[in-house]
């Protein structure tokens, strides 16, 4: 059983002190610091995000996506064929992102996340995974003014993200995760998803994960588990019925369980976490489980995010004592 986080971690410290990206970005706007200065603060904040995960006991960490404005623009702005437009609501949350607009043929220009991965790996005493938005969700959250065809757009994105994943794997990334919350919202598009996922994963020499969140897989579950990934992430907080989907979980795949609510400050109890693991254990062996928050932690203040991770690792530890 491995504890991990889904993708992002809150960017600014709860108490004063420590690198503060919010302050630095304001200072950059006022011309009081340079872009290099900001990057340095981002590096320091990334180190803090990693060391807080390690301190909380998380075994597989991310760089916290401290440099990302949001899950879409950080990727899209470094691909050819995209421009970035106005603010738009992110799912049903009270947060916003700038909408990418597809206005030309999409192509891969240069590695997007390799440098960040190498930085995080050097800064972390624990294994680092790379998480990025998958082709279907990136397409769903963008405005398409060029392809006018969802299948063509998703396939084009799958091809460039495949190049990115290969570059990451060549740089040494052993665990690459694609976040696809949008596929839960349009089960009828599964044929498009299926085709894109074989393009996305072809020839990538790393452990690959497909994460969904903000809901339940429902009827889609069995088809999802047939896709070419080793790890499948499900959100058991916003999708409590996902436990039912585990009946059909393949014995040779790994399950990542979102079991602490990353969108609410209320702390789960150790017993609740143990009970969740126990339910999953009926269908998936413990050595095939990852435990993580239900989605990215940036919906929470930094202190609450840290407390959630501490509780998650306490729960995982207790589950091992009780259930093995």
């Amino acid at each position: 059983m491995i504890t991990t986080i889904v993708n992002n971690y809150p960017k600014i410290p709860s108490l004063s002190g420590g690198p503060n990206i919010r302050r630095s970005m304001a200072q950059l706007d006022e011309g009081r610091i340079t872009l290099d200065d900001l990057h340095q603060v981002q590096d320091e904040a990334t180190k803090d995000a990693i060391s807080e995960q390690v301190k909380a006991g998380v075994e597989l960490v991310t760089d916290g996506q401290i440099r990302w404005d949001d899950g879409q623009t950080y990727i899209a702005s470094k691909l050819n064929g995209f421009s970035i437009s106005g603010l738009i609501r992110y799912f049903d949350s009270n947060t916003y992102y700038r909408q990418p607009v597809v206005d030309g043929k999409i192509s891969w220009r240069e590695p997007i996340l390799v440098k960040d991965y190498l930085f995080a790996r050097a800064a972390s005493e624990r294994p680092v995974k790379v998480a990025l938005t998958g082709p279907y969700t990136l397409a769903a959250l963008s405005e398409d003014t060029y392809y006018h065809d969802k299948r063509a757009l998703v396939n084009a994105l799958a091809a460039v993200l495949n190049q990115e994943a290969k570059a990451l794997a060549e740089a040494g990334a052993e665990f690459i995760q694609f976040d696809e919350p949008s596929i839960l919202k349009a089960p009828a598009d599964f044929p498009i998803v299926k085709e894109a996922m074989s393009v996305l994963t072809a020839g990538v020499n790393a452990k690959l994960a497909l994460y969904t969140y903000f809901g339940e897989a429902g009827e889609l579950a069995q088809q999802l588990f047939s896709l070419p990934f080793q790890v499948f992430g499900l959100d058991f907080v916003m999708g409590p019925n996902n436990y039912a989907a585990l009946k059909s979980f393949p014995g040779d795949k790994d399950l990542a369980m979102g079991i602490v609510d990353a969108r609410n400050t209320k702390l789960e109890t150790v017993d609740e976490i143990v009970a969740a693991v126990k339910k999953a254990k009926e269908h998936v062996s413990l050595d095939r489980l990852y435990l993580n928050p239900s989605c990215g932690l940036e919906f929470l203040p930094r202190r609450n995010a840290y407390d959630k991770l501490v509780r998650l690792t306490e729960g995982a530890k207790r589950a091992l004592e009780v259930l093995v």
Binding site: I12, T95, R98, T265, K266, R302, N304
Partner: protein, 324 residues
């Protein structure tokens, strides 16, 4: 007051630089609350005067004393704490209310400001409340077992406040529910809560809802028990009007005709065309004209220009169509 194409606004107006500076200084403890409050009253008076001079029919106080529409109420209530900072987008952060116990009013929250602003004008000033669904959706919940329980408890509190506003003389009470648009599947819950809020009130009740994917739940939307819907239209191509045409819609509509997210001021002809479109769907007596949403994110001059173009366009359309 005339009887057709009445003009109003959604609630907030931008804060002048002097007030923004004062709020910063007060937050840093460099200005006492009394001094800040004096400036808030001054700013309120300026906006009331502006609306009067422009000939707006139903006024708002401009919410010069509110930061955030949810936190403002939560801070004045029992049962709420305030969280650490969470990011909304880019470099924007805010604090979220956290329900930690049963929610209740300590005393009336908005009545004093209502009385003050109504005392400045002979035209009606709207009482402005945040609806129970939005209060809940934009808060963390560490106390209530379900969202429903939290929403229905909040509805009682908002009802008490609305009743106090009515007692203080408010003829128009607006209960904003921008969060409803993010989760159309909970429209029914929002409507049930609104029934608690508006029960027994004789004042004219309004709800403002931001744009969302309403087509599938439109019948439930227009069943929300209020006298008027205030809907964003300029930002959404007026397609809600087409939905209205096919329905047995007997309430009144306040139609947004300027986009609050855009710096550019709409042309007079553009706004007149929008009003004429509205008149194709509803008679002048049941059609009110206003901006899409609160104007607080615009500069003072932009907000004033947007109100000016509304006032002028309504005046010209009324003259052309001989509407009193």
């Amino acid at each position: 007051m005339t009887t057709g194409l009445l003009t109003t606004s959604v609630g907030s107006f931008p804060k002048s630089p002097y007030l923004l500076q004062a709020r910063n200084r007060a937050a840093q403890g460099k200005m006492d609350q009394k001094e800040l409050h004096e400036l808030e009253l001054k700013a309120t008076k300026e906006w009331i005067q502006f609306q009067e001079e422009l000939g707006i029919d139903i006024l708002v106080d401009g919410e010069q004393y509110r930061g955030d529409m949810v936190t403002y109420f939560a801070e004045e209530m029992e049962g709420f704490g305030i969280s650490g900072l969470v990011r909304s987008y880019g470099n924007r952060y805010y604090r979220k209310p956290v329900a930690t116990g049963p929610v209740a009013r300590k005393s009336a929250i908005t009545v004093d400001m209502y009385k003050y602003s109504q005392g400045l004008t002979s035209r009606p000033v709207k009482g402005m409340l945040t609806g129970p669904y939005t209060m809940v959706d934009w808060s963390f919940n560490e106390y209530y077992p379900t969202r429903e329980a939290f929403v229905m408890a909040m509805a009682e509190v908002v009802h008490q406040e609305a009743a106090d506003l009515e007692k203080a003389g408010a003829k128009y009470i607006q209960i904003d529910e921008p969060a409803v648009s993010t989760r159309p599947d909970e429209m029914e819950l929002a409507a049930r809560a609104m029934a608690v809020v508006t029960k027994g009130l004789s004042a004219f009740t309004i709800t403002h809802i931001c744009y969302g994917d309403f087509a599938s739940v439109f019948d439930k939307l227009i069943a929300i028990p209020v006298d008027q819907f205030d809907l964003e239209m300029a930002n959404s191509g007026y397609d809600l009007l087409d939905l209205l045409k096919g329905k047995n819609f007997t309430k009144t509509l306040a139609m947004g005709v300027v986009d609050v997210h855009n710096h550019a001021i709409e042309s007079l002809e553009e706004v007149k065309a929008s009003i004429r479109r509205g008149l194709e769907a509803l008679p002048a007596e049941r059609l009110y004209i206003d901006p899409d949403c609160g104007l607080k994110t615009r500069t003072v001059e932009e907000a004033k220009d947007k109100m000016r173009v509304i006032a002028q366009a309504v005046k010209e359309v009324k003259a052309e169509l001989r509407i009193e």
